[in-house]
Amino acid sequence: MPREVDFFGVLLPGVLPVFLAAMLLQLVLDAGLSHIGIYRRSWHPALVRLCMFVCIFSALLVTLYK
């Protein structure tokens, strides 16, 4: 994975696209989970959601960042 992405002449960090992808995945998963109603059973729904995002983001990074 490239360290930096060239965006119209501005160098953006390479994790940015990964971050956005993680965000998208998270949105899909979130919609699914709230449809099932998982959040109602959890103690701290927002924390669950945040942790989920961190997991997705890290998993993507670990697999892509070599």
Binding site: S34, I38, Y39, R40, H44, A46, V48, L50
Partner: protein, 711 residues
């Protein structure tokens, strides 16, 4: 025991506020630390973002964060486009910017809540990026990227902190609103059915309910961003709002009919009839009295039924009891001497309305039970809430914002004082922000007070405390009191504007850049120019079109008429709901502008609005019936009614109104003539048409008499 009660009380009131302050500070300084750590160019943007995003509940923070990011992106793109188009021509650039700001502020006035904020932000972000780039167009891209990065950083910090640490879930507030609304409505219905409420009080109640509908909608929009708020919830809440509006409208018509019957029945008792009309009046009164005697027990029964919890079993029971009551009343009527035609119509309408109301109430209660018990139920797509702002106000807010930008830009040019850039920004920001508030001058005034308070405090903080800090943590210690004070003030309802002003001002000035420069002269001139910007915004609101603010009585009244005209002509698809939403939205704007105790003129507008609401509903229903029916004498007569009504609504005059009344009477005869040999399904439709004609007739009568009483 006493101590525990006191502590619990403190925790519920002041404790909440201090937790909020702690969260806001945590978000602010973590964003600042990250901005320093990452070596961003203007760390104060990240800090200012967290201060702006400090809202009481996590749903609100997330919603605002989302729309802030969106607005920033759009604003930056607009700035880049504008600077790229006119790099060498500042005058044209400023005119372009003014147009953009005007467009965005107008768009903000058309929307509600944070969507409106997104528009405001798109407008002033463009100014923030483009104005510093006037002298150095090549820097504009870097400026834009920095801005987006830092806003993004602030957003992430705020969202994480407010959502994770001691979150206050907005979904709970929404549920509380739903419960309060439900009990409020049931109480209101009971009071009306038991005749314990005057028409003036009822109008006020309707005004409050309109505000409630808007509030629930904005709460739903905020809760949407929280974890665990599914699509199903959104649809459910939309449906709840829609069912509430339908029930409210039917109930209003029902209430008016009951009131009218009672007034007519009271004529003979009060003996205030002049000699010529005695006979007719007495006959009328006797007839109305009989109708009243038949209908009254059903009202009482309904009121009694409302006293208990409305479970589905009890609702079914209530409806069957109502059907029994109606059958009994019909039988009683058939036994006695025949009623006069007018009274017969009154009776039929009362019965039809009661049935309709019971149906609406059942829908409403079912939705409520589904929401509170988290029971999933199938609902047809209720569609979103659609707001409505009078176009004159949209145009005026756009014009005002654009003019402010041009005025301050001219000041910048003629004063040749570099710090005026700050004034341009502040004037534009507050002109745009306050446009969507019902009392913009009060808001800007509060912000101004905050700025004035912050001037000495920021100076002291900067030069006596921040200068002594040699590290990040002492810096936090030095800046904390000022920011905490701002956050604390902004968490209470009374001084929220002052708190926001204090926070914004300090965030812009106190926070050091990566390379700190302590320059008293430039600091003071920044202070002065920032304050000047707010003063300019205040003056602009006072001077430029001061009457064109959100919820201004005259504009709302005109917009209500336009909505009624629209009901006659617009495409039928979803028209009823749109009409309902828009009229309620206008009323809620009126409520926001009028405050807790509306004056007589405002109440007149409310009464007018409710009459037009009733009229519009009946018109839309008639149009739906016409669209579904076959050609014939009845349909032709209904079409004639609609034509004349549309003409009346476009140019209200006594003659037009009377022509429309006559047409309604003719149509009534035509529809009734078609009744005997209609098959049952068509008969039901014809009955609905008769009810609608009746409510058109009575609201037109009210309208005509009201106009000429007032004149």
């Amino acid at each position: 025991m006493w101590l525990r009660a006191q502590t619990a009380d403190w925790l519920r009131t002041e404790g909440e506020r201090w937790i909020f302050v702690a969260k806001a500070m945590l978000a602010s300084f973590s964003a600042l630390w990250l901005a320093f750590r990452l070596g961003l160019d203007a760390p104060y943007t990240a800090l200012a973002t967290t201060i702006i995003l400090a809202m009481p509940s996590s749903g609100m923070v997330l919603e605002k964060a989302f729309y802030r990011f969106l607005g920033t992106l759009v604003g930056c793109s607009a700035a880049l486009a504008l600077v790229a188009l006119f790099p060498q021509a500042p005058a044209v650039l400023f005119i372009g910017l003014a147009l953009w700001v005007a467009l965005c502020t107008g768009g903000a006035a058309m929307h509600r809540n944070q969507q409106s904020y997104s528009f405001v932000l798109a407008g002033y972000t463009a100014v923030m990026i483009a104005v510093p780039a006037v002298d150095a167009p090549d820097r504009v891209f870097t400026l834009a990227v920095t801005r987006v990065t830092e806003v993004g950083l602030g957003i992430i910090c705020s969202a994480v902190v407010h959502d994770v640490f001691f979150p206050r879930r907005h979904a709970r507030t929404v549920m509380r609103t739903v419960q309060a609304r439900y009990t409020g409505f049931i109480d209101f219905c009971r009071q009306v059915l038991e005749h314990r409420i005057t028409p003036a009080q009822a109008e006020l109640n309707h005004l409050r309910f309109a505000a409630d509908i808007a509030a629930l909608e904005s709460g739903r929009a905020a809760a949407f961003f929280e974890a665990g708020h599914s699509r199903w919830h959104t649809r459910q809440l939309h449906a709840f709002n829609a069912a509430f509006m339908t029930a409210l409208t039917t109930f209003y018509t029902l209430h008016r009919l009951a009131h009218r019957l009672r007034a007519a029945g009271g004529v003979s008792g009060s003996g205030r009839v002049n000699a010529g009309a005695v006979d007719a009046g007495a006959v009328d009164a006797a007839g109305a009295g009989r109708v009243l005697a038949l209908v009254e027990p059903m009202y009482a029964h309904m009121a009694a039924a409302l006293r208990d919890d409305l479970t589905s079993a009890r609702l079914a029971q209530m409806r069957s009891a109502l059907a029994g009551g109606i059958a009994a009343a019909r039988a009683q009527l058939a036994d006695g001497p025949a009623l006069e035609r007018a009274q017969q119509i009154d009776f039929d309408t009362a019965v039809e309305l009661l049935e309709r109301y019971a149906g609406n109430l059942a829908d409403f209660a079912t939705l409520y039970l589904g929401l509170t018990q988290q029971k999933r139920q199938q609902i047809s797509d209720p569609g979103a809430y659609s707001p409505r702002t009078p176009p004159a106000i949209i145009a005026a807010s756009g014009f005002r914002a654009g003019a402010t930008l041009l005025v301050t830009a001219a000041m910048w040019y003629w004063l040749a004082w570099p710090a005026t850039v700050n004034a341009i920004l502040m004037a534009t920001i507050f002109c745009a922000l306050a446009s969507s508030s019902p009392r913009p001058t009060v808001l800007v005034q509060q912000v101004l007070i905050g700025f004035l308070l912050a001037m000495p405090l920021a100076f002291i903080t900067e030069f006596l405390m921040v200068t002594k800090a040699d590290n990040f943590y002492p810096l936090v210690l030095a800046a904390l009191p000022l920011f905490a004070c701002g956050a604390y003030l902004s968490s209470g309802p009374r001084w929220a504007g002052v708190g926001v002003g204090l926070g914004m001002f300090s965030a812009t000035l106190v926070v050091p850049a990566n390379l700190m420069r302590y320059d008293v002269e430039s600091f003071v001139s920044s202070e002065l120019s920032l304050t000047m910007g707010v003063v300019v915004a205040y003056l602009m609101f006072k001077v430029v079109l001061p009457e064109h603010t959100m919820g201004h009585r005259g504009h709302v009244a005109a917009a209500l008429w336009r909505e009624a005209q629209n009901a006659c002509g617009a495409r039928l698809h979803r028209l009823k709901r749109r009409f309902d939403n828009r009229v309620r939205d206008l009323l809620s704007q009126l409520n926001a502008a009028a405050g807790p105790a509306p004056d007589a003129e405002t109440r007149a507008v409310v009464r007018q609005g409710l009459t037009l609401l009733e009229l519009g509903h009946a018109i839309i229903e008639l149009r739906q019936l016409i669209a579904a029916s076959h050609a014939g004498a009845a349909r032709d007569s209904l079409e004639a009614v609609l034509r004349l009504l549309a003409a009346y609504l476009h140019a209200p005059s006594r003659e037009g109104g009377e022509r429309a009344l006559q047409a309604v009477l003719d149509a009534g005869s035509a529809v009734r003539a078609a009744l005997p040999d209609a098959h049952p399904e068509r008969r039901a439709r014809l009955h609905t048409a008769l009810t609608d004609l009746h409510s058109i007739y009575t609201s037109l009568l009210d309208q005509l008499s009201g106009e000429f009483h007032a004149a």
